[in-house]
Amino acid sequence: MNIGVFVCHCGSNIAGTVDTEAVAKAALNFREVVFATDTMYACSEPGQAGIVDAIKTYDLDGVVVASCTPRMHEATFRRTLERAGLNKYMFEMANIREHVSWVGKDKEANTRKAEELVHMAVEKLRRNDYLEAGEFDINKRVMVIGGGVAGIQAALDCADGGLEVVLVEREPSIGGKMSKLDKTFPTVDCSSCILGPKMVDVAQHPNITLYTLSEVDSVKGFVGNFDVTVRRKAAYVDWDACTGCGECATKCPSKKTPDRFNEFIGTTTAINIPFPQAIPKKASINPEACIMLTKGKCGACAKACPTEAIRFDQQDELVTEQVGAIIAATGYDLFDFTKYGEYGGGRYPDVITSMQYERLLSASGPTEGHIKRPSDGTEPKDIVFIQCVGSRDKSIGRPYCSGFCCMYTAKQTILTKDHMPDSQSYVFYMDIRSPGKNYDEFTRRAMEEYGARYIRGRVSAIQPKNGRYLVKGADTLLGQQVEIEADLIVLAVGAEAAKGAGELAEKLRISYDPYGFFLEGHPKLKPVETNTAGIYLAGSCQGPKDIPSSVAQGDAAAAKVLALFSKDKLASDPQVSGVKLVRCIGCGKCESVCPFGAIEMIDFRGMPKASVVETVCQGCGVCTAACPQGAIQLRHFTDNQILAEVNTLCL
């Protein structure tokens, strides 16, 4: 075998702390290395041309590039080999950037480590085999998980592109957080007026199947061929029969049911349609509040229903959908405002969250758009807004900025002045973050035209005082303490990962960060892909986003799916497990440990043997660890290849 080694400078990224020339020189002493050089940027056009030239000049049949992580450029260099006429799996990458130059400052030690990594890569490459990718069919249907604005946008784009779409939403209606908002920044247009038509489009689109009140139960398969089981939770109402007339809710005697849609400001009935614009506009029963379901007596709704749609015996139903791609758009949840004791959230009735305030402002909310204090129903005059409640605070494990709170607070001060011209808004802020188009102009308007008083500083305590509240804080620009008497306090709660995000990520086998937000494939270059092929991200499930960004990412995810489905067949990865039949004793241990169900037991001349379903295998290697006699080997990562690397390093 003729092996060529290319040691990349990556500008000064690697060459700054690794003597790349020395590494290349050392590589010439490794077995079967006939050519070695250092190069400025191996991945660049001239860098790749250099590799192609060397392959031809020195008749190379294997290449090692010592540069960055394979995640970054393995595919790039494999294509380079293909262009030069080599099998693209006759390539190994030694990661001397993330594993060496970026983590160590000692140039001598770094150089030594880089040489060892290159040596290991050479020894592995000597044992590489030619591999050929197979092809498999794809199912051109897509599932969108989450029916907020990002999911709606992605579903509509895919459906308009001619794909069959299954949209799964946990709540009884699609619409997500946006459907709860009164107005949107920076235009102050009505949220439901711009979202409503899109929701109707979803309901009416012939290519979209909508499952609300449903959650993903399990996900099997792989890109192009996922089997997703969806749990359709019991609504206790036959939705085919329900016309959404609302008669049931008017007759329901359980009128003190907590109102989830209205953020628990006010109450609703046990059977209800969450809001007037709900899609689908169908009634569902809250089983915890329903007298019939908890005590076995009542049935008032069943008597009132003109179409006899009530089904107290309805059970959850599991539906399996075959799709080729999945877009996760599960959104976010709001920070628990009771975690800051000093603000009195949860203790003082007139300390509310910004989303609760949004419901008070909304004409379809519990107060029909009149701002009333939850404690006594009076109209407040002085309102204090506190920013960064659950954002940018390491002490509560939320070091990140939620991004949209500065803007919605500015919007809320404007709406407050619109609703009550005599009112005065005060905003305690840390910094104002308004980098979007027309955003900074908008916050200026809140201050300059609508007279909101912005105080740069934090609030230390809120105390009740004569039916009002004394807000004590600091004005760090004036360098003095301030006290404001307020009727209502609105906490600008930050965003956190949606409840159950981690579990869903595990089911989808995608990565998530310590806060539960899903990880994109690359923070800059793959913002909507995940590290699992065929699964894409849209909206705030990836990190806090405002409406324009969520919509843009919904569009982007749809574009990715449409691009994926533009081919009729996909190439399968040949780096999967394979069974050596003569060695296999059919003990079935590989089958029972496989996390993907990729191994089936077959009958071979009367004897049980393991067999790998190559398109299902993800190449994780668990089976190879479980197989006692080494009969099952992961191609491109065989025991012998790994042993060769270990021996190179240790012997």
Partner: protein
């Protein structure tokens, strides 16, 4: 014991017509250890022996006899191997008829020979009563303390009765009680530093002759002719006569039996050099018990923890939900 053996013979005679064979023990060339007896005819039944010399774990024969109707006589520890084989679907429950016994402890032939001296006169019977073992030699009884002549595994016996069986013969009872149990190798090793432990094993392994008797005796070694120890593909171990390579093989065997080994002690019993190799398996078993709350060979309906994939293990909290 006399009544047990008669009952055992009666039960086997009853069951034999419906079976291809029954595996039990018979007197062999060595007066201190009985050998396996494969019974296919009723006349063979009379050759059955049952006393503390019946050391060998017969369960190891079962995977090789798969497809046949086999009866098997088991002690408490043998039954645990059998349960493990059932769990791993290496044998089929409906094909196996189990004759279970209460074991009073098994004699360590090597230790007993040392303690008894010459056995030229023959050994008529061996029995265990309370804290002593009685050997009847040429009509003369010799009594020795259990701690001197029992196999080491019997000191840590977790159940002397065959828990899973079709026919239980004799009375149920407790494992042998030894007043002064010698410290186990595992306990000795745990008192050592890491370096001392390595020296201990290098020292032990320098005596290993690589006969692989430990592997051949292990009832759970399933690889048959494809043992990783003698393969080049994958090439885990080479043939260098070096303690490192020998220890590597022992490490592989211990890892292959991790969470499966029922500590039947066959590896140590078979070792001609008397190496304490079961210790490696015991150490792993302890970890398995801590991590998964699991002991091999106790419940036929449980799956061995290392042969399952779960996103979240009960005792390993990787995630916060």
């Amino acid at each position: 014991m006399a009544s047990s053996i008669d009952d055992l013979k009666t039960e086997i005679k009853k069951a034999l017509p419906g079976l291809d064979m029954v595996i039990a023990w018979a007197a062999g060339p060595d007066p201190l250890s009985h050998t396996p007896l494969f019974i296919t005819e009723e006349a063979d039944v009379e050759r059955i022996e049952w006393d503390p010399r019946c050391s060998q774990n017969l369960a190891g024969y079962l995977p090789g006899l798969r497809g046949k109707k086999v009866g098997i006589v088991v002690k408490g520890c043998d039954a645990r191997s059998l349960v493990e084989l059932l769990q791993e679907k290496l044998i089929d429950r409906e094909d196996v008829t189990i004759f279970g016994l209460h074991c009073t402890g098994a004699v360590d032939a090597r230790a007993a020979r040392k303690a008894l001296g010459s056995l030229r006169g023959g050994l008529e019977s061996v029995s265990v009563n309370g804290g002593t073992a009685s050997f009847s030699m040429s009509g003369e009884p010799r009594t020795l303390p259990l701690a001197e002549v029992l196999q080491k595994k019997c000191f840590t016996c977790t159940g002397a009765d065959a828990e899973v069986c079709d026919h239980f013969i004799g009375e149920h009872g407790e494992p042998p009680r030894v007043t002064e149990t010698p410290a186990t190798t595992l306990e000795e090793l745990e008192a050592m530093s890491m370096e001392e432990r390595l020296h201990f094993w290098e020292d032990q392994m320098s005596r290993c002759i690589r006969c692989y008797a430990c592997r051949s005796a292990c009832p759970l070694c399933v690889c048959q002719d494809h043992c990783a120890a003698q393969s080049r593909e994958p090439h885990w171990v080479d043939q260098t006569d070096h303690p490192r390579e020998k220890l590597m093989f022992q490490a592989i065997h211990a890892l292959h039996t991790a969470g499966r080994c029922t500590e039947c002690g066959e590896c140590e019993r078979a070792c001609p050099m008397g190496l304490p190799i079961m210790t490696l398996k015991q150490a792993l078993n302890r970890s398995i018990q801590d991590l998964f709350d699991y002991r091999a060979g106790t419940d036929p309906d449980q799956a061995p923890p290392l042969f399952e994939f779960r996103e979240e293990e009960k005792n390993i909290k990787e995630r916060e939900w």
